[in-house]
């Protein structure tokens, strides 16, 4: 027997037409009507002439729009990039654009990486692909190794630790020996690559594109110190006896057990540290500030530390979670992010369009799709080799 729901609308329809129902259908209807309190309402709604007429009118309104709607759906929703609806004006000069690219993409990429990757590459042709997992590891003797997500296993033995590569993540497993001197390794990501690292103490580091981190192969002594530039997210293994310090530019982040994001790209306006949980102390320009979760410290060159309450954590963490968050981002900020991820250079011809973006974009989107949507919003953009040219009016 077919499930009732499949059948019941047919039975109700025929019942209202005064068709003779079979005994079986009749009892199916009775059972359905008794099954839930609101089922009876369906019949009374269908018998309410005025309401029915109103709903038929509305249904016909939507039925007539279905061709256009399908057309829109096919163009906007069935491609990898889709737009949210609104364009509105903030002032005469500044157009705010809603640039939303579905979160579905990264869900899909995670679920079925191979399938979608295959489909994508079949579609793209000469496209510039988005970044992916990858990094370069520089060992203490200066030897360089390319890390990718395909290799697995022990790739080196370093002064007190085994270096293990597993699925896009590099980990240091201490081998139990106490080395006499401290040696350093450096992991760096070029543009278009990001990677994950587990330090010898178990602390986790996510390294964004165009960034690097220098750390000892085993932590000894009274504090754990790493040096970095670019952007990284840290989840520090708790150990109150041995404080963890991140040094970047002229700022030092002293960790008191915690998850936080450090953005120290040289071409970004401010050096920012955003605390997700726990507690960190920022030391910069001979001043120091202790952050609470949700706070962001911004250090501009030689100025005091500016603390922002209620930082947009989702936006700060977007890169680690596989997407871009362009909410309230202007064109230059957006382009700096695209440069790092797509390994391109952005050149402006004339005035930089004064736009603010809204919305999110998956990090798996092809650059050509990004360019297409910039154009759709009236931003003149063209791609020549690996240079994206934005021309003002």
């Amino acid at each position: 027997m077919q499930p009732v729901e499949n059948n019941i609308s047919e039975i109700i329809y025929r019942y209202l037409q005064e068709d003779n129902l079979s005994e079986e259908e009749r009892s199916a209807l009775d059972r359905w009507l008794a099954a839930a309190e609101d089922h009876q309402n369906v019949l009374s709604k269908l018998r309410d002439t005025a309401g029915l007429q109103r709903d038929l009118m509305k249904l016909s309104f939507f039925e007539e729009r279905v061709d256009d709607a399908w057309d829109r759906f096919r163009k906007e929703r069935m491609v990898k990039v889709h737009l949210l609806k609104t364009i509105w004006f903030r002032s005469a000069a500044a157009v705010i654009i809603l640039f939303g690219i579905g979160t579905y993409l990264w869900i899909q990429t995670q679920d079925s990486a191979s399938v979608s990757a295959g489909r994508r590459s079949a579609l793209v042709g000469s496209n510039i692909s988005p970044g992916k997992s990858g990094a370069v590891l520089t060992l203490s003797d200066g030897k360089r190794m390319v890390l990718d997500s395909l290799t697995n296993g022990i790739i080196a033995a370093q002064n007190g630790a085994q270096v293990v590569l597993k699925k896009g993540l590099l980990a240091y497993d201490p081998d139990g020996q106490r080395p006499k001197e401290t040696m350093y390794n450096t992991m760096s990501t070029p543009k278009g690559r990001q990677f994950q690292l587990i330090l010898p103490d178990g602390s986790k580091v996510w390294l964004n594109a165009a960034s690097s981190i220098k750390y000892p192969t085993i932590f000894t002594g009274s504090e754990r110190v790493v040096e970095m530039d670019g952007e990284a997210y840290f989840e520090i293994a708790r150990n109150p006896k041995v404080p963890f310090k991140v040094k970047a530019n002229k700022t030092e982040v002293e960790v008191l057990g915690t998850g936080f994001n450090v953005n120290g790209y040289n071409n970004e306006e401010a050096f920012t540290t955003t605390l997700i949980e726990g507690s960190v102390k920022i030391n910069a320009n001979k001043r120091s500030v202790i952050l609470k979760p949700g706070q962001q410290a911004q250090t501009l060159a030689n100025t005091e530390i500016h603390v922002v309450n209620g930082a947009d954590i989702n936006q700060v963490m977007a890169w680690k979670n596989g997407y871009f968050d362009f909410n309230n981002t202007d064109l230059r900020m957006m382009m700096r992010q695209l440069e790092r991820w797509y390994d391109i250079q952005v050149v402006y011809e004339g005035a930089v369009p004064d736009v603010i973006f809204k919305g999110k974009m998956d990090r798996g989107v092809q650059l050509s799709d990004v360019v297409r949507f910039l154009k759709l919003f009236g931003i003149k953009a063209r791609l020549e080799e690996r240079v994206l040219i934005i021309s003002g009016k």
Binding site: S9, M57, L59, V66, R72, Y104, V115
Partner: protein
């Protein structure tokens, strides 16, 4: 059938109903269309997960997603209004389950299909008078036929409409005035 063809079929099957459902919850046609589009997009995006599902599950999914989005929309609107210090309207809490709404809309579209399937000229007249609520004069103007002709056609359409529900409604006191007064007394 490829994914796209299947999606096309599903889209045509569900879009109007989802719009109507959303409209009943948000009272805004444009917003309702966006919500329906979004729900169908979700289905498309997660199609790999839905591969083994039957139609019943798909409709349950779509209607549930629409309902949630409508509630989100209301929450969002409330926040906006609260900021403007306007009076906060409560979300119109419908007692009807997603299932009831779905069954109602299923029957409704069958009725709609029935009107559509009348011979074209009759379908048009029933549409105009019953669905759009136009008067005989307005219809005659629109179709460029005499009012008398409209009346005759209407009567013929009623005969043809084997849907007792529709007939019953057209004959109900509320609509006798709209339809039959025109046919018989003008």
């Amino acid at each position: 059938m490829g994914d796209s063809a299947a999606m096309c079929k599903i889209f045509y099957m569900y879009y109007p109903k989802l719009c109507l459902y959303a409209e009943s919850l948000v009272q805004n046609k444009e917003e309702a269309e966006d919500i329906a589009q979004e729900a169908l997009a979700q289905l498309w995006h997660h199609r790999l997960k839905f591969a083994g599902l039957n139609q019943e599950n798909i409709s349950a999914y779509l209607f549930t997603v629409v309902k949630h989005d409508c509630y989100d929309y209301h929450k969002h609107e409330q926040v906006k209004r609260a900021k403007k210090q306007e009076i906060i309207n409560l979300i119109p809490e419908s007692n009807d389950s997603v299932e009831s709404a779905f069954i109602y809309l299923e029957v409704l579209s069958r009725i709609y299909a029935e009107i559509k399937n009348l011979p074209p000229h009759l379908s048009e007249i029933v549409r105009m008078s019953f669905i759009e609520g136009l008067t005989t004069e307005q219809i005659s103007e629109h179709l460029r036929i005499t009012p008398n002709n409209v009346r005759v056609q209407k009567a013929r359409a009623l005969e043809k409409l084997r849907n007792a529900l529709l007939k019953q409604n057209l004959l109900s006191p509320a609509l006798i005035y709209l339809v039959f007064s025109e046919i018989f007394y003008k």
